[in-house]
């Protein structure tokens, strides 16, 4: 159902429909290009301190170029391109991570320190920082920190860092336009909720489940 049809199906009054169309127009336009930042001028309903704060965060820089390069390699190891969608860096996950550590300073030391920890491990093992290692060497190191249950105790700091990096990558990727499409989220548009579709109810054997005080 396209938006016009769904509006008709809803039987909304002209006032409501007008507002909805306005809202839909905005998201269609925004959806046209992948972006990691809120559009400039999109300040309606935002408090002045929030607008100022965002401007400052966007202007500030936290990670060095070398750190950003490592973050990019790591993000693409965590979420690579596959037959269904692009990679973390295609979805501009590194830019999101740069923003979020400024927005949430609690991430800063664990991220900066974790990246350094990673480089030191690589220097000791392979004589080169992480980004200069071969793909095989990088994966060799990642394999030591990507599996919390089987990682060696002396790698625990690396595990903690990689858990954080994995979470931030997933957050950044699946909230991007590429990621939302990949995950198949079908909402955020006018519709009419009439319950779980019949074929799905049947598939899970839920046709007769009903919330009621008399049950």
């Amino acid at each position: 159902m396209n938006r016009r049809d769904s509006l008709k199906a809803l039987g909304l009054g002209t006032l409501s429909a007008g507002l909805l169309l306005e809202a839909c127009k905005t998201d269609t336009k925004k959806g046209a290009e992948e972006t990691t930042t809120a559009a400039a001028g999109d300040e309606v309903g935002r408090q002045p301190f929030e607008v100022e704060r965002d401007k400052k965060l966007h202007a500030d820089k936290f990670f060095t170029a070398a750190e950003m390069a490592t973050i990019t390699v790591l993000a693409d190891i965590i979420i690579p391109k596959d037959e269904k969608s692009g990679s973390a860096s295609d979805a501009k996950v590194p830019d999101f991570i740069e923003f979020i550590v400024k927005d949430m300073p609690d991430h800063q030391t664990p991220m900066r320190g974790g990246l350094r920890w990673l480089d030191l491990q690589c220097l000791n093992r392979f004589g080169k920082p992480f980004t200069d290692c071969t793909k095989d060497q990088q994966i060799q190191l990642i394999d030591m920190i990507a599996y919390p249950k089987k990682a060696k105790p002396e790698m625990a700091q690396g595990v903690a860092f990689f858990n954080r990096m994995r979470d931030l990558t997933a957050s950044g990727f699946f909230t991007s336009e590429i990621g939302v499409k990949d995950i198949g989220y079908a909402g955020n548009q006018p519709g009419k909720w009439t319950g779980v579709p019949d074929d799905i109810l049947k598939h899970y054997g839920m046709e007769n489940v009903k919330a009621s005080a008399s049950m």
């Binding site: 909304l12 009054g13 995950i183 955020n188 579709p197 005080a213 049950m215």
Partner: protein, 578 residues
């Protein structure tokens, strides 16, 4: 030299209302529609959901992807404010805890609330439990106003005939989501009553109302609704009241105190205008406080005079006392049988689709009163934190090949896991009755003022064994329900080290009780019409008058009581009593 001076208005309004949330909004709406000239003072900015809501934005339109850095419930949430506001501190006493959520905006906290709209029942007004105080009014006194609120604002639900969960005048409820059907099954098997939710969302057009659109099921009530499809005091009360021409709103007006005359009657209020930082006084024949349980108590305690030395309406000394928030504890997990589920739009409404009203007999339990349970889960819009901690999920269920996987990981197989687990999670949260106690209170901190020079509140709040035992019972119930959901994966119950997951006081944002009503002026600040015993032209219409909250969320009762008080004021004005 400072040019600060107090600007006194020469006009006298019929009524000045402090606050524009559920209580202030309803009083303003009723009075303005009766032709009474009302001035409303709001401490925050103007907010119209039609224009200011973040509804239908995509996660990538927020640089923090919807995270709650500046707004505790997320970047798109409607509430301006939170538990901390710059320049407006509050303090705590004796190493106790209280968290005070404030929304400085037209409509207050109703712009973002969960829209769960429950009536208190007969046994909530008169519990006869030997522990809590009776209200001076009964359910039957309030029922006509609940009915009017239902018709005027709209609420969905089902008639269930439960004695202490009175039925209302309902629109059809939204059907459960898939995860919620598993919860229904699990709860029923565990002997926990579970019924369709009750929420102030227009699942159908509201009869007789042309200003509000029906819900279009985006599930984003927390962002406030551009078509006014849910209840916010801004969209449903204040903005319509402004249109009558009888209600004027001054925003960014932070009220300092209520002014009284030599007879001890209220003559108006003083406030600081946050925009020009000047001091103002306005006159009114009647003063109504609807600033929130905390803020209204603060205003009264700061309104000291020769006639009211302990603060206005406080000869009893109860103002600030009996502060209580709902108890809260929660649990959650995921359903492996829903992995790889088919995608469809499962946004539903932004309030609860199902809930469990209190279902047990306290005589058989080691704590008084009870709690209800709110549930959720489904194919929600991804936002910051999406699938966080996947290493705790993907190692406990078999992969596509039927073999167990090593937890954590990376790469194509991890990317596949994120897809597989999407929409499998569910959660449940108990919300229960906390006992109103004299020793849980807010008072004026003798040493601290906010940036406007207004003395701030200091809180003293401790949970007692009754609340902790209730949280323990919640955790045990959650375990039973989750066990009976069939294959759900979840963690162990929370134990004594966290008070069984009992949230800190204030975290549920249902604080009430600080200016309690009662028949005895020595033991209460307000009479049964929410009129001050000590000052007959002063009324309180937020949750401060509550004697004892049930497990029911406060908003529907605030609306009903405020409407009742506003109608009483109209009657008294006709008799020239106020």
């Amino acid at each position: 030299m400072s040019d600060l001076q107090i600007k006194k208005s020469s006009a006298t309004y019929d009524v000045v209302i402090v606050g524009s949330g559920a209580g202030g909004g309803m009083a303003g709406y009723v009075l303005a529609n009766a032709g009474i000239k009302v001035l409303m003072l709001e401490a925050g900015a103007y907010f119209d959901p039609a224009k200011d809501s973040q509804q239908l934005k995509w996660p990538w339109e927020s640089p923090r992807r919807g995270a709650g850095t500046t707004r505790p419930f997320g970047d798109f949430d409607a509430a301006y404010g939170g538990w901390e506001i710059d320049g407006e501190p509050y303090t705590t006493k004796d190493k106790t805890e209280f968290f005070w959520f404030r929304s400085r905006m037209l409509g207050g906290r109703t712009n973002h609330w969960g829209r769960i709209s429950l009536r208190m029942g007969p046994r909530d007004f008169q519990a006869k439990d030997g522990l809590t105080d009776d209200w001076p009014i009964t359910y039957d006194d309030v029922k006509p106003y609940y009915d009017k609120v239902d018709r005027m604002i709209g609420v969905y639900g089902t008639k269930e005939g439960l004695e202490n969960e009175p039925d209302g005048i309902f629109l059809p409820p939204p059907k459960p989501r898939l995860n919620e059907l598993y919860i229904v099954k699990g709860a029923q098997k565990a002997g926990v009553k579970i019924i369709p939710g009750r929420g102030s969302v227009l699942t159908e057009a509201l009869p007789g109302n042309k200003d509000r659109g029906a819900c279009f099921f985006c599930g984003q009530c927390g962002r406030s609704c551009k078509v006014y499809g849910d209840f916010s005091a801004s969209s449903c009360l204040v903005i319509p009241a402004i249109k009558t021409g009888n209600l004027k709103v001054i925003t960014n007006a932070m009220v300092r105190e209520v002014i009284t005359n030599a007879e001890g009657l209220a003559t108006g209020v003083s406030y600081v205008n946050k925009e020009d930082m000047q001091e103002y006084q306005v006159n009114a024949k009647t003063v109504i406080l609807g600033a929130s349980a905390g803020e209204s108590a603060r205003i009264l305690l700061n309104s000291k005079s020769a006639q009211h030395p302990g603060g206005l309406a406080n000869s009893s000394g109860v103002v600030g006392r009996y502060l209580h928030d709902s108890t809260g504890s929660s649990a959650g997990g995921f359903l492996p049988q829903l992995m790889d589920r088919k995608r469809y739009n499962e946004d539903g409404v932004g309030s609860v689709h199902i809930y469990s009203p209190w279902w047990l007999d306290n005589k058989k339990l080691d704590f008084p009163r009870g709690y209800h349970i709110e549930y959720g889960g489904g194919l929600h819009m991804p936002s910051y934190g999406f699938s966080g901690g996947i290493q705790n999920m993907n190692g406990v269920v078999p992969g596509r090949d039927g073999k167990m996987k090593e937890a954590g990981g990376y790469g194509a197989s991890l990317k596949d896991d994120y897809r597989r687990f999407y929409g499998t999670q569910f959660g449940m949260a108990g919300r229960g009755t906390a006992i109103a106690r004299y020793d849980n209170y807010c008072e004026i901190d003798p040493n601290v003022v906010d940036k406007y020079g207004i003395p701030v509140l200091r809180f003293h709040y401790k949970w007692a064994p009754e609340e902790i035992k209730q949280a323990k019972h919640m955790q045990e119930t959650f375990q039973e329900i989750m066990h009976n959901m069939g294959g759900a994966i979840y963690g162990p119950p929370q134990g004594p080290e966290t008070n069984y997951g009992l949230e800190a006081p204030g975290k549920i944002i249902h604080e009430v009780g600080t200016i309690r009503m009662g028949n005895d002026p020595k033991k209460s600040a307000l009479n049964k019409w929410c009129q001050a015993h000590d000052c007959k032209n002063l009324f309180v219409v937020d949750a401060a008058p509550f004697v004892q909250q049930g497990d029911k969320n406060a908003t529907w009762t605030i609306l009903a009581l405020s409407m009742r008080t506003a109608e009483y004021i109209i009657q008294e004005r006709k008799k020239l009593n106020v």
